[in-house]
C-alpha cells in the first residue's frame, strides 16, 4: 500500500510515451497520426486542439490516455467496473464539450480533467436528491480579489505541488491518496489500513496541514 503511494509521488509524474492507435483511426476513416505525450504541456496542446479545431485525433489521444486512468481511480474507490467505465466515457465527452473552457494559465491539463471527473462523481452522487455541483469555473463565480504576492503560473504550481508531495511521509501520502484522491470515507480507510478511526482522522488532518505549510514554504 505504502509502496504504491510512494510511487505516485516520489519520482513525480512519469508520462509514458504514447502512440496513437493506427487500427482505430483506420476504422474511423481518419488519417493516422502519432502523438507523443511526454509532459503535461503535450496534454494541454491536445485539449487546445480539441477546442480550436475540433480535432478528433487529439480527442482520441486524450481518450486513450485519460479514460483508462479515470476508470482505474474509480475502481479503486469501489465503483464497479461497468459504472467506472461509463463515468470515464462521460468525463471524456465532457472534455470534448468543455474544451473551449480549458485555460492553461489557470490549471494544468491533468488537473482540469481531474476536476471534470470529480464533478461528474459529485453529480452522480447528488442527482437523486437534485443537488448540484458548485463549479468554481461557472459564471456564477467572479474572480477572487487578486493577491499581488501570490501570483502563480500553472507550471510553477505544478512544480511546487510535485516538490511538496515528495516531502510528505509515506503514511501521509497513503491517507491522502485514499481520502483525497480516491474519495474514501474515513471509516473505510480505517478498515483498509487496520487503524483506529481517530488515528486515521488525525493523520489526514496532519497531512493536509503539512501540505499547506509546504506549499507556502516553497515560495
Amino acid at each position: 500500500m505504502q509502496a504504491v503511494g510512494q510511487r505516485y509521488f516520489a519520482e513525480g509524474v512519469t508520462y509514458s510515451r504514447w502512440h496513437f492507435g493506427a487500427g482505430l483511426s483506420q476504422t474511423m476513416g481518419m488519417p493516422t497520426g502519432t502523438y507523443d505525450i511526454t509532459c503535461s504541456a503535450d496534454l494541454a496542446r491536445l485539449i487546445e486542439a480539441v477546442a480550436g479545431e475540433r480535432d478528433r485525433e487529439a480527442f482520441t489521444a486524450l481518450f486513450d490516455y485519460f479514460a483508462p486512468r479515470i476508470k482505474a481511480v474509480l475502481m479503486h474507490s469501489n465503483t464497479p467496473a461497468a459504472a467506472a467505465e461509463e463515468l470515464a466515457q462521460d468525463a471524456m465527452l465532457t472534455v470534448w464539450r468543455k474544451a473551449a473552457q480549458f485555460d492553461r494559465t489557470r490549471a494544468g491539463a491533468s488537473a482540469w480533467i481531474f476536476t471534470i471527473a470529480r464533478n461528474l462523481r459529485i453529480d452522480v452522487a447528488r442527482r437523486e436528491q437534485r443537488g448540484r455541483v458548485l463549479d468554481l469555473e461557472s459564471s456564477e463565480f467572479l474572480e477572487p480579489p487578486p493577491q499581488p504576492d501570490q501570483e502563480f503560473d500553472t507550471s510553477e504550481r505544478e512544480q511546487r505541488v510535485r516538490v511538496a508531495l515528495t516531502h510528505l511521509s509515506d503514511d501521509q501520502i497513503t491517507v491522502m491518496r485514499l481520502s483525497f484522491f480516491e474519495g474514501k470515507a474515513h471509516g473505510d480507510i480505517a478498515r483498509e489500513l487496520g487503524l483506529p478511526l481517530g488515528t486515521v482522522k488525525s493523520r489526514i488532518r496532519l497531512a493536509m496541514n503539512r501540505l499547506r505549510d509546504l506549499l507556502g514554504d516553497l515560495t
Binding site: 482520441t60 485519460f66 490549471a107 463565480f141 483525497f180
Partner: protein
C-alpha cells in the same frame, strides 16, 4: 482579505468532492473573497491531476474510444466563460433572492434583533444551511453544537473567543467549541451557516431562550 479560513481538511474535502453540498456552498462563498484558499484548492486539484496522470491504467472495453467518437456530434458544446469581473462581494447582495444559484426562504424572526432564512440545498445529508442577520450590538447567548458549524460572514462582522470575523471570513467550528458571538461595528451582520447536529444554548438566558430558537 480574509483572516479566518476553513480548516485545511475542509478545503481538501471540497477539492476531493467529498464535502457535503451545504458546507461546499459555505466554502464556495468564502472563495469568492479569498484567493489564498482558492490557490490551495487549485494546488490540491493539481495534486489530483498528478495522481491521475500517474495512475496505473485499467483498459477500457473494446471499442470504447470508437463509441465516444461516434457520440461527439451529438454533444452540445459549451462556449468559453466570458471574462469575469473582479469583485469583493460577489456572492450576496441584500436584494438577492438566490445565493450562488440556491433559492432562499423568507426572513423569519428568531429572537430580538436576530433573523434567519433557510437556504434550500437539496442534498442536505444531515446539514442544515441558513442565513442569519443580526443587528449591531447583538450578543448571541453562549452556545455549543452537537455537530459541526461552518460559517462564512457575508457582510458586517462579529467577534467571539476566536477573534473578529468580517466579510469573507470563515469560522470552521467543531462540536466542542462553545462560543458567544457578538455583532461588531454599526452594520448589521449577515452570515451563511451550514450546521450539523443541534444548537445547545448554555446559561440561564440561553435556557430560557432555547424554546424560541428553532434554528
Amino acid at each position: 482579505m480574509s483572516r479566518h479560513h476553513p480548516k485545511n481538511l475542509t478545503l481538501a474535502e471540497f477539492a476531493a468532492g467529498t464535502l457535503d453540498e451545504g458546507r461546499s456552498l459555505v466554502v464556495a462563498s468564502h472563495f469568492a473573497m479569498c484567493s489564498e484558499c482558492r490557490e490551495f484548492v487549485a494546488a490540491l486539484e493539481e495534486a489530483g491531476g498528478q495522481m491521475l496522470a500517474d495512475a496505473e491504467p485499467v483498459a477500457m472495453t473494446k471499442g470504447a474510444a470508437a463509441r465516444a467518437l461516434s457520440l461527439l456530434d451529438h454533444v452540445a458544446n459549451t462556449r468559453r466563460v466570458r471574462e469575469r469581473k473582479q469583485s469583493v462581494m460577489p456572492v450576496w447582495q441584500p436584494e438577492q433572492k438566490t445565493l450562488l444559484g440556491y433559492e432562499l426562504g423568507p426572513w423569519r424572526w428568531v429572537a430580538p434583533g436576530l433573523r434567519h432564512r433557510v437556504v434550500k440545498v437539496p442534498s442536505e445529508g444531515g446539514t442544515r444551511v441558513f442565513m442569519l442577520k443580526a443587528l449591531p450590538g447583538l450578543k448571541i447567548p453562549e452556545h455549543s453544537h452537537t455537530g459541526t458549524e461552518l460559517t462564512c460572514v457575508l457582510s458586517g462582522a462579529f467577534i467571539h473567543e476566536g477573534g473578529r470575523y468580517a466579510a469573507g471570513d470563515c469560522d470552521d467550528a467543531d462540536h466542542d467549541d462553545g462560543h458567544s458571538p457578538m455583532i461588531d461595528g454599526d452594520e448589521e451582520c449577515v452570515c451563511l451557516v451550514a450546521m450539523q447536529g443541534e444548537l445547545k444554548l448554555s446559561g440561564l438566558i440561553g435556557r430560557l431562550m432555547q424554546p424560541f430558537v428553532r434554528i
